[in-house]
C-alpha cells in the first residue's frame, strides 16, 4: 500500500506571531517557517507503518509556495520516499483554502493509487481542521479524525480517536483518510545520513492546473487582530479565600 501524507509549510510554532499593520493577516516576511507539527506526526506514523511492513511507499505532498520544497525535503529526510510539490501561490501570504487543497489531494491520491491518506488534524496557522474531512467527502472514502492510535488490520483500520471526555475506538474500511492528533507519536529527528540522502530522492513539481483545480480564494479575510492580552492574575492568601472568590466573585462554584 502507498500512503500519501500532505505536509503544510506554516509559521514555526516557536515564533511570536505578529499581525500585519493593515490587519490583512499575519506577517510572514522573514519569519521562520516549518512543517506543521501535526503533519510531522503524520509523516512519522507513515514511516513507522513502512518500517513495520504495512506500507510500501510514503509519498509526501505539499501545496503552496515554491519554498514548501524545504518542508518536503524535511519529510524526505525523516524517511518519506518521494515528494510532490504543487506550486499554487507566489506570495507567502496567500493561503490555499481547504477545499482547493482537498481537490488537489484527491487528484494526487487517485493518480498515485494510494490506499491511505494520513494528514494532520489541522494546520496551526489557520486552524481550519477541514481538509481531511473535505477530502474524504470528495473521494468517498472512510474517515477517522483526531487519531491517537492507528492499527491496520487487512481491509480495515482500527483507529483510536481523541474525543471530548475520552477516547473512542472505531473501525473504518480502507481506503481511508486518517487525521492525526498530538499524542499519536513523537516525531523523530532526521538522521544525518537521511538528510544527505533527501536531496537524491525524487521531488516532482506540479501546478494546480495539472490537476484541473482552480485555487482562486472563495473566502475573504475581513480582519485579523491580535488576541486580547491576558489580564494579570491575583494572588490569594489561602484556600478559603480562593473558594470564597470562586463562589462570590467568579460565580463558578
Amino acid at each position: 500500500m502507498k500512503v500519501l501524507v500532505p505536509v503544510k509549510r506554516v509559521i514555526d510554532y516557536n515564533v511570536k506571531v505578529r499581525v500585519k499593520a493593515d490587519g490583512s493577516g499575519v506577517d510572514l516576511a522573514n519569519v521562520k517557517m516549518s512543517m506543521n507539527p501535526f503533519d510531522e506526526i503524520a509523516v512519522e506514523e507513515a514511516i513507522r507503518m513502512k518500517e513495520k511492513g504495512a506500507v510500501e511507499e510514503v509519498i509526501a505532498v505539499s501545496i503552496g509556495v515554491k519554498q514548501a520544497q524545504e518542508t518536503l525535503r524535511t519529510a524526505l529526510a525523516m524517511g518519506a520516499d518521494r515528494a510532490i510539490l504543487v506550486v499554487a501561490a507566489d506570495d507567502v501570504h496567500q493561503d490555499i483554502e481547504p477545499l482547493a487543497v482537498a481537490k488537489i489531494l484527491k487528484a494526487v491520491a487517485e493518480a498515485e493509487g494510494v490506499g491511505m491518506v494520513l494528514c494532520g488534524k489541522q494546520a496551526i496557522d489557520n486552524d481550519m481542521n477541514a481538509t481531511g474531512q473535505m477530502l474524504a467527502a470528495l473521494l468517498g472514502w472512510s474517515q477517522a479524525t483526531f487519531a491517537s492510535k492507528i492499527e491496520i488490520e487487512g481491509e480495515e483500520a482500527k483507529v483510536t480517536r481523541e474525543v471530548d471526555g475520552g477516547l473512542q475506538t472505531i473501525k473504518v474500511k480502507m481506503p481511508a483518510i486518517v487525521s492525526v492528533d498530538l499524542r499519536l507519536n513523537e516525531p523523530r529527528y532526521a538522521s544525518l545520513p537521511n538528510i544527505m540522502k533527501a536531496k537524491k530522492k525524487p521531488l516532482d513539481e506540479k501546478t494546480p492546473a495539472d490537476f484541473g483545480v482552480d485555487v482562486t480564494p472563495r473566502l475573504s479575510v475581513v480582519k485579523t487582530t491580535e488576541p486580547e492580552a491576558r489580564k494579570a492574575g491575583v494572588m490569594v492568601g489561602s484556600v478559603d479565600e480562593l473558594i470564597a472568590k470562586l463562589k462570590d466573585e467568579a460565580g463558578v462554584i
Binding site: E70, T74, Y189, A190, L192, P193, N194, M196, K199
Partner: protein
Amino acid sequence: MHFGLSDEQEMIVSTVRDFVEREIYPHEAEVERTGAVPPDLAAGIKRKVIDLGFYACNFPESVGGAGLSHLDFALVERELGRGSMALTHFFGRPQNILMACTGDQIERYLLPAVRGERMDALAMTEPGAGSDVRGMSCSAVREGGDWVLNGTKHFISGADHADFVIVFVATGVDDTPHGPKKRITCFLVDRGTPGFTIRPGYRSVSHRGYANCILDFDGCRLPDAQVLGEVDGGFAVMNEWLYATRITVATMAVGRARRVFDMALAHAAERKQFGQQIGKFQGVGFQIADMVTEIDAADWLTLAAAWRLDQGLPANREIASAKLYASEMLARVTDRALQIFGGMGLMDDLPIERFWRDARVERIWDGTSEIQRHIIARDLLRPLGA
C-alpha cells in the same frame, strides 16, 4: 558569492537545534546545580546521537563518520554551542587527530572512537607549560625497547570520561640557532595503564560539569605501538590535525551568543521601567544593536575560515582571527545581556549568569587571545621580515 545555506545545511542546522533544545536544554539546570552529568543521561544522549548518525560526523565516511565538510561541521558546532558543554560533550566529536592512527591503532582507537565505544581526551598543557607548549617537561625516555613516561598534565578536559588519552610529551632536545628546542612525541595511553592516573582537576567557574582533570605519569611504560604519528613528530601531527579545533571555539561562541542575545532581546522588549519597555531607551536599544552586529561579524568570520579550509586555502590567520574575535565578542555580548537583565541577570534563577561565566574560558583555552593575536601578527609581519 553565495551566503545562503543549502537545503541539507538548513536541515542539519534545524535538526541539531531541535536536538539541543529538546535533549540538552531540559537537563542544563541539573548539571549546573550538581556539577556533574548523570551517567544514564550521558549514555542516553550518546545513544541518540549515534542513532541519528551525527556521532563523529567530523570524520570521513571511509572510517564510519559522516564526512561533513569543515563548513557543515561548523554549522553543527554552532548549534551545539547553544547548549551546555558538559552535555554536548556526549554529542561525540572525537579529536580528528585520531586520523593519524596507523596499523593496529585504527582498530584499537580510531574506529571505536568513531563508533562511540571509546572516548578520548587530549593532553598538552602542564602546570609549567601552557601557551608555551614546547616548554613541556613531561617526558618519555627509551628503556629496554619501551617508552617510559613521567610528568604531569593539567586542565585536561573530558579526561574523567575518557577511555584513552592522546598525550604529547618531550622525547629529546635539539640544539638550534635559536637555542635548545624540545622534540615532542604523541602517545595514545589507555586508562588503567600502570603508572598512569587520572585525578580530578580544579573547580572552574566556566562550564560546570565539563570537568578538567590532572594526569600523572609515574614510570608509565608504553610500547612503540602507542606512538601516534612519528617518534619526535608530535608537532607535525599537532599542526596537521589540531589546527582547525580553534574553529570549534569560535562557532560555539557564536551559537551561545545567539541564544543569550535572543533572551536579552525578548527581555528588552518586555521589561518595563519608567512606564515603557526598556528597549525603547536608546541606552538599551544601542546595546542590542551592537550585540547583534558583533555576533553576525563573528559568525561570518568563522564560517569564512571554515570555508577556506574546505577550499584548501591557507587559513591559519583567518582561524586565529575568528577564534579571537568570536571569544571576545561572546564576553561582551554576555556582559551586555546581563546588564539588560539588571539584578536578575546575576541570579542563578536565570541562565544569564551562567553564560557570562562560561564565556570567560573561551578567551583562554585552545590558545589565549594573546596567542591568537601573536599568530595573526606573525602571519602578516614575518613575510615582511619583521
